[in-house]
Amino acid sequence: MNTQDTRRPTGKKLSLKEKYALMTRGLGWDTSYEPMDKAFDQLGLEGIKIHDWDKWEDPFRLTMDAYWKYQAEKERKLYAVLDAFQQNNGHLNISDARYVNTLKLFFTGITPAEYNAHRLFAMLGRQFPGPGAAIACQMQAVDELRHVQTQIHSISQYNKYFNGLHDHTVMNDRLWYLSVPKSFFEDAISSGPFEQIIAISFALEYLLTNLVFMPFMSGAAYNGDMATVTFGFSSQSDEARHMTLGLECIKFVLEQDPGNAAIIQRYLDKWFWRGYKVLGLVSMMLDYMLPKKVMSWKEAWEIYFVQNGGSLFNDLSRYGLRMPKYWEQSVAEAEHLSHQTWNAFYNFSGAAAFHVWLPSDEDMAWLAEKYPNTFDQHYRPRIEHYRKLQAEGKRYYNPSLPMLCQTCQTPLIFTEMDDPTRTSHRQLEHDGDTYHFCSDGCRDIFAGQPDKYVSAWLPAHQILQGNCVEPGAEAAGDPGADALRYFHVVAGQDNLDYEGSPDEANWLRWKGLDKTPPAAAA
């Protein structure tokens, strides 16, 4: 490789193409002290065959110098908006303080995932011997680090006024529901290089990214959150580049060798299901957490997965790829996903770093309209029961620990396809132990790599093993209180219902809506 002469022709201004060749391909070299296959020692292990790395095309032809210039310009714009946001008390312009709870979910669940994406691409840049692929990965590594920073800076505007945003890195490491996105990324980052890039660049960035980006960014726009809209726009052009990398990468690998398709299909089946399970949190955010709704989860899944994904797989069928395994199940479950996920947080809001609230009459009318086949029949009675209990001052909190899926780490909150009132459960025996799963998809993933998933750090089990006690702190003897402190969730401040929270009291005061009568004048 790299045999063409890339020396600069004299006395001539470089064309974009020449400049690109010099600044990317021209930077690569073959090792001479060590054989190439030792320098790039992860490459052969997955069975993927690459015959010619020079066939890797970068459709953007972006060189590092141009990259720095574009990114610096985006940063200047972003920080100008953030300054204005701060000076104008932008946090008071949101639709309602309930909205900030979606940011708490984003900041503790997705921002740390961006950081893991940075680590993953930094390592991948080292794993690929083709300069085209290596440079694309390096740029994405820098992009992802920028995303982390812009999110920290934007959301810190809210951290001054609202609770639950004070410790996103520790929470991501320890808080029970965040083990779902955390384990997704740790599964990816501990895979072989081709699996990593298929998992993140293709399955996540190309196939599923709209299901993360659209809900949060449109949700922000609908709910008056200019800080989030701005960091969203700032990263959108990066996302477009990442999506293109995902598509370029999968086509490149498939065209290199006919034997690659079967391996790629296996990765797609796995990472589609892993990603879909993480999106349960997004479904709840769309249907239950946005004060001003954008669209339902069912509509989002139909547009962004069924339609867009369907036509993508039509294009890819010429390489022998098909839609990921169990995709039909995800469509049928779209009728239930958000309602079942929200119920888990209503049950366990004592142990969450954001607030929960019951849907209003108006919210329930919207849910019934969006989910005519399921809401009134299966989910309204439960919510009305909760309402009655709350009115009597007997709010239901689940005092137990839940059974978790060994693969996706979600509690077993989903139901069987043919019976929405019975827990979906699969199990298998491996090496003398029993393992439990939420679905066929998660069971299959385990069965493919059991040695990986037997080591899963399942929060409920860790609590019961006595491992969730803040280092250096005296155990309180109450595992619930110990776990909360270990999560860095401040009891009575970050958790429980929105009604009665310090967030609510502050918001009402700032907006002049304080419910408590003023003290009588002297």
């Binding site: 049950n347 989910y379 199990q427 132990d433 080591s455 899963a456 409920a460």
Partner: protein, 121 residues
Amino acid sequence: MHTHAQQTSVPPLVRDRVDNFHGQQLLYVGWDHHTMICAPIALLVSPELRFGEVIDDLLPASAFALHPEWPQIDWARVEWLLADRPFTPERSATLAAQGLGHKAYLRLRTPALRGIAGSGA
């Protein structure tokens, strides 16, 4: 699929081996058609616990007891399943003696009770 780390002969770390529970074990219990309790529950129990103590002591302190139909359960008529197979518990026998090992999943069915307002919740 396989990275170098996976190719070495280091045995996998089985994080939830029974030895890690300090003499206790896990027992999961689910109540079919009562989805108000959002997931089956995970209990830490001694293998020497008698089955009757699960019903008399552990479940009344769990989420199950907060369900409005809990007081109506007729325990003589409860149908038990071990994962998917019918199971006949013996109240006075220990968990270990009747094969309820580490990470066993017990389900109870109460056909007369259909959840909140008959919705299965």
